[in-house]
Symmetry: C2
Subunit: 291 residues, 2 copies
């Protein structure tokens, strides 16, 4: 059976209100293996240093909705069987995963590999990238949830690499009954995830991989290494505790069980690359020199 894998490049940054996601998305696309199928890039306005508006409880609501519609339009046109999404912030997986659940008529499990649960709503927070899994399940802001024609059932969702969250988030995750495999449970086995996958009976899986699930001591291209951040900028925010090798093993173990039809890689923040890019711009001969 021939299948069509679409690669979707979405250097969205407004969902996390952080300009560096835009460049991080471009570099991620450059770093990725060559695509086997078609490649489409969602048009995202370049950051220009101006502040994004808070619109009815969500920063950059209208810009994010426009990017959501553009993504949907590409999906309608391409009609892929499988999708690789290169973000951008976590919100980039909303349209693609919603599409896949329709495409497979509900026969889709969702593995959310992330240090954070992404089930906030505008009542709790203003950045839409922290709401995307909630939206896929049908929770949260109507502008976003109404784009999910067929919500993912909570029992078809599992977290990997999550281990702690805010009281509000715990409450939502427990109310929805979302499963969770902590980093310690995944050190040398993927069994908790495999067991859940089998229990769902799903033959297809979409995997959201937020790079911040990786231990920031091992990998610095994450928000926790933001240059010049105030010392308390990430106070209380759980840091990833998995290694890259563990994530690679987990995803390959999953792929042996079911058909991986979606994979989103998100939240790439390559601070060193940004620093060197900016430095080169400021040098004589190669750049513009001193401003």
């Amino acid at each position: 059976m021939s299948t069509k894998t679409l690669r979707l490049q979405i250097p969205q940054w407004q969902g996390g209100n952080l300009e560096a996601y835009h460049f991080g998305g471009q570099l991620l696309a450059w770093l990725a293996p060559a695509a086997a199928g078609p490649v489409a890039t969602v048009e995202v306005p370049e950051p220009d240093g101006s502040e994004l508006p808070l619109e009815d409880g969500i920063v950059a609501r209208s810009a994010l909705l426009r990017q959501l519609y553009s993504t949907e339009e590409i999906l309608r046109k391409e009609m892929p069987d499988r999708i690789v999404v290169l973000g951008g912030d976590c919100l980039v997986d909303l349209a693609p995963f919603a599409y896949l659940n329709e495409r497979y008529e509900g026969d889709l499990a969702v593995l959310w590999v992330d240090a954070h649960p992404d089930v906030m709503t505008p009542q709790h927070f203003v950045h839409a990238h922290a709401m995307v899994l909630g939206n896929l399940i049908g929770e949260g802001d109507p502008d976003f949830t109404r784009r999910v024609a067929r919500p993912i059932k909570p029992e078809k969702v599992m977290y990997a690499g999550l281990y702690d969250m805010s009281p509000t988030e715990w409450e939502i995750v427990e109310r929805l009954g979302l499963r969770m495999a902590t980093p310690s449970q995944l050190i040398d086995s993927s069994q908790p995830v495999i067991d859940w996958l089998r229990s769902t009976g799903a033959r297809h899986v979409a995997i959201h991989f937020d790079l911040d699930v990786i231990d920031p001591v091992q990998f610095r291209s994450l928000n926790f290494s933001m240059p010049n951040a105030p010392p308390d900028a990430f106070a209380g925010v759980p840091r990833g505790r998995m290694t890259m090798a563990q994530v690679v093993r987990l995803l390959n173990d999953v792929a042996e069980q079911v058909d991986v039809v979606g994979l989103g890689i998100t939240e790439h923040l390559p601070w060193d690359a940004i620093a060197i890019r900016d430095m080169l711009r400021g040098l004589p001969l190669i750049g513009e020199g001193r401003a």
Copy 2:
């Protein structure tokens, strides 16, 4: 007066015997501002994991000489007035700086912004990237020095950011009488370098910028952050102590005094980017999955 600035991309890695310089050079070229003039890339064999041969005291001597000749050929063909070199290891500046000293008939000062002096010879070490400044002055292995038709006079050379070295290196640097501005002397002033520049009377300067002059705490894309390096891998090796902002200031201050006709950026080792590239290759759907 119209001038021609050539951008030379040389992802050479054999001079430091480290495969990561190759990818680091490619990423550096991608990160750099768009070139205003012609761009040429020196053909460099891709690393394939096999060990490089030690040839008469220098690792990969023949491969390095071939890349040197290729660079010379490009320079002969392009006849640029100015050159931006994007390495690769430090050795990439050999042919371009030798060309510039001929092009300006000896009216060339050389500012060596580096945590290391690069004046070793095969008697002391086997990696040619640690010999390049010596070669430019006329010291070291004849295969390399004979390519420098007009050696740089030692009084036309100054180090910036250097502050310590091995006894052998101290001996050579002192014998040659090479000047040196330490990181502490350059914290908020470029004066030591400006004074030297004026003393040379040179109207042109070529600047070698080894990224390892940057403090590795600020910037991790350097050899000191090599993943899985043994704890003593860099014992005794001086680490850079400058900030990027200090280097940018220094180079712009220099550019106000004399014409910057050469700028080489070298030794970019983007470990995070390499890790993510390799990880993506090992994932299902986007890569080949588990080997």
